[in-house]
């Protein structure tokens, strides 16, 4: 083990910031993080072992307990469930004789659930040793099981299993335009970097991750800082369930992203950039690195880019399964090799970002748009969209519709138009912006997609009338409780309380007062949490409480003033079994028979 750790640390130049990359390699090698590895890494990097322990316990894909040699994570997004995930999971578990949440006794297989893997348009999906397999069916599961039982290494499995499709259904301004390599860079330098920044400002481009901060303003503020060391970071931690548009951009518009980052770097005066790629997108890692190599060879990255004398390079770093790392400051913490805990602001990451240096952090789509604007000018971009929301938005459409996939729309497009284009019928509602967004009913289908009205980072999940709103809200509420980083009290404790309280009502054990309690907890979490995750964790409940109060009321047993918070009769089961009793006194009713 010593030589393996030694080589791994060497591979990452004994830096502490790529700690997640180091641990990913260790996990892949030993199927867990051995305690001895913690000691060796701590010594090798001269960091407290507690930092490593904290990181291992924070991310889903690290484990101190040995996992199976084939380590399977089933995507448990609401869209996977709608596509029959549960039955297929049962099928897989039965075939492999390995229940969810366990490691098979022979150590060959382990199966667990994980959050959305970004294949909602081609689910249900799973990850095996980190690699995504979509479009699960019994037939495909049979093939997976066969290869596991034959002991074939994942690298030798049939490659068609791992195919991920772009599914671009409706390209628009950006997706329809092929950016010639280096064209945006050449245009930017010819026009002048300051002028290019002015052009990006004139285009009205705002961040595509959802928050909608004006891109040029971010870049200009960072450029104006007094520090000389600055960084460009691309947020490719596309973790919002129901979002997969960055997956497609990373796969097929790779050069556009890197070109946008390079222009940003030149404007800022940055020499180093990172793409923080969510762990679930491991299948894109080699491709991204190959494109980087290609660009270095073509003089589009490196010491003297296109002969303009600018030095810049990009490094891809993988996450390891953590939704909160999509939050910009949590992402930077993770990029520094720590737990993804959102920082206190101010200062913003523009002033103190990666390694406390000024940093511009933008969404994948923002960099693509910036590159195109640098090439084609601000008017080309601003010609579509609305007054305050210029340009187009790329949507990831999934759920109940005929044609799930990628759609690019000018801002201002109505919900109605989108639903028509993707072939959605009998619509109950749409989750715009993913679990942290808003559940919009069809009564609101005249609503327009803009930053001011219906804002989305790209997620657009459609539900028809066969779906139960409570199942959806439950999936989202459990998701947030699972993904809470645990830093602040209201989110750490509150999301778990909210989950319990919601489940109580959902399972038919709600009584008078339980809805008020649910709303009170939800509001407390929203009003007092530290970061965006906490502030939006209760949105699925708050937005449905507001739109469908009767649904909640109907779940309540008004005749009872109270229904206990735990299963009374179930709580006697152990005592019944041990005493061998089953008489009338050995049971309790949940609510009193009057």
């Amino acid at each position: 083990m010593e030589s393996f750790i030694d080589e791994t640390l060497k591979k990452y130049q004994h830096q502490t910031t790529p700690l997640l990359m180091v641990l990913r390699d260790v996990q892949a090698q030993y199927f867990h993080i051995p305690k001895q590895a913690v000691e060796l890494i701590a010594k090798g990097l001269d960091i407290p072992r507690t930092q490593i322990v904290a990181v291992v316990e924070f991310y889903h894909f690290f484990s101190f307990e040995p996992r199976g040699r084939y380590d399977i994570f089933l995507s448990d997004s609401i869209t996977d469930q709608m596509l029959g995930k549960k039955a297929l999971a049962d099928y897989l578990c039965t075939k492999l004789q390995s229940p969810i949440g366990t490691v098979r006794a022979d150590g060959v297989v382990s199966i667990d659930n994980t959050a959305c893997t970004g294949l909602c348009d081609q689910g249900p999906a799973l990850l095996v040793n980190g690699y995504a397999i979509g479009q699960l069916s019994e037939q495909r599961i049979d093939r997976i099981v066969a290869m596991i039982e034959q002991n074939r290494p994942v690298t030798e499995w049939d490659s068609d299993l791992f195919e991920v499709y772009d599914n671009i259904q409706q390209p628009g301004l950006l997706l329809n335009t092929k950016l010639p390599r280096g064209a945006a860079l050449t245009a930017a330098w010819q026009r002048g970097l300051t002028e290019t920044l002015d052009d990006i400002k004139a285009s009205g481009l705002r961040g595509r991750g959802g928050a909608g901060f004006t891109t040029a303003m971010k870049w200009a503020s960072c450029r104006a800082t007094e520090e000389t060391e600055r960084y460009v970071v691309c947020n490719a931690d596309e973790g919002e369930p129901g979002t997969f548009k960055d997956r497609v951009l990373l796969n097929s518009y790779t050069h556009d992203i890197f070109e946008g980052m390079t222009i940003c770097a030149a404007i800022l005066g940055a020499h180093k950039g990172f793409v923080y790629l969510r762990g679930e997108y491991l299948h894109l890692f080699n491709k991204l690195n190959a494109v980087l190599e290609e660009r270095r060879a073509a003089g589009l990255l490196g010491d003297n880019i296109l002969g303009y004398g600018w030095k810049f390079d990009i490094e891809i770093r993988l996450g390891a399964g953590s939704y909160v790392c999509g939050e910009s400051s949590a992402l930077l913490e993770s990029l520094e090799g720590k737990m993804g805990i959102p920082r206190n602001r101010p200062p913003s990451s523009i002033i103190k970002g990666y390694l406390a240096k000024p940093t511009v952090l933008n969404n994948v789509e923002t960099f693509v748009a910036a590159a195109h604007i640098a090439w084609q000018g601000s008017e080309w971009f601003a010609s579509c969209g609305t007054e305050k929301s210029k340009g187009t938005k790329i949507l990831s459409i999934c759920g109940d519709c005929e044609r799930p996939g990628i759609y690019e729309y000018p801002f201002g497009t109505t919900l109605k138009e989108v639903l028509k284009d993707c072939g959605a019928s009998d619509v109950l509602g749409v989750q715009v912006g993913g679990p942290s967004g808003t559940f919009v009913s069809t009564r609101e289908s005249d609503g327009r997609l803009t930053f001011e009205e219906l804002s989305t980072g790209g997620a657009f999940i459609i539900f028809n009338h066969s779906r139960n709103i409570f199942d959806i809200v439950q999936n989202f509420t459990h998701f947030f409780a699972e993904e809470s980083c645990g830093f602040c009290t209201p989110c750490r404790v509150g999301t778990s309380l909210l989950k319990k309280q919601f489940d109580k009502i959902h399972s038919g054990h709600g009584s008078a007062g339980d809805i008020k309690e649910l709303r009170d907890i939800a509001k407390l979490i929203k009003d007092t949490s530290h970061c965006g995750l906490g502030q939006s964790a209760a949105e699925p409940i708050l937005t449905t409480l507001e739109r469908y109060p009767n649904l909640y009321e109907r779940q309540i047993k008004q005749q009872y003033s109270f229904d206990p918070v735990f299963d009374l009769d179930g709580s006697l089961a152990v005592a019944r079994k041990m005493s061998g009793r089953d008489d009338g006194h050995a049971h309790l009713t949940q609510v009193e028979n009057k």
Binding site: F562, A575, R576, S579, R581, A586
Partner: protein
């Protein structure tokens, strides 16, 4: 003179310490009996609750019988009060909650050193234990809580006289403590 308020008290998974502390109101009990009539309570030995104004519950819920008694109080008492640490958060009996019930029973009745005729009691007269000890607000709706282990006699006195006089009960800083 207005009709006397009816008061009932009981101890569930508690130590009767709260009841003892209640009795520490000493001679004020003479004033109290002028104002309230005791219904079901260890002080009266009345076995079942009739409709009451106030029910004081000491102790948490650790077995099936506790649930029945608690329900009887809730059904009969207009105002139900959680008295003391155990009623409020399970208290010391709840420190068993970190040990599986199976281990608790085996240690007590089977593996315990010096035990004769080891067996898990199975007489239907004995209430079965719940997996964990719970505070009473997890089983029935509670109107007020009086913290303390036990709450002092002054707490009982202040709380009850407030209610008798028709005020919203309130305790000054010095009367609120958790130990």
């Amino acid at each position: 003179m207005a009709a006397k308020l009816k008061l009932a008290t009981t101890s569930l998974a508690g130590c009767f310490g709260c009841h003892m502390s209640f009795l520490d109101i000493d001679e004020r009990i003479m004033q109290l009996v002028e104002l309230v009539e005791f219904d079901r309570s260890p002080l009266t030995d009345i076995k079942n609750c009739s409709p009451c104004d106030i029910g004081l519950i000491e102790g948490g819920v650790c077995n099936a019988d506790n649930v029945h008694v608690l329900r009887e109080f809730r059904n009969n008492c207009r105002i139900l009060v959680a008295v003391g640490a155990c009623a409020i958060n399970g208290g010391l009996p709840a420190m068993r909650n970190s040990i599986p019930l199976e281990d608790c029973l085996r240690e007590s009745y089977v593996n315990c050193i010096g035990i004769e005729n080891p067996q898990i009691p199975n007489d239907p007269e004995l209430p079965l234990l719940l997996n964990q000890v719970h505070p009473i607000h997890e089983v029935v709706r509670i109107d007020y809580s009086l913290p303390g282990c036990p709450p002092s006699a002054d707490v009982f006195w202040k709380f009850l006289t407030d209610l008798i006089e028709g005020h919203e009960p309130s305790l000054d800083y010095d009367l609120v403590y958790y130990d």
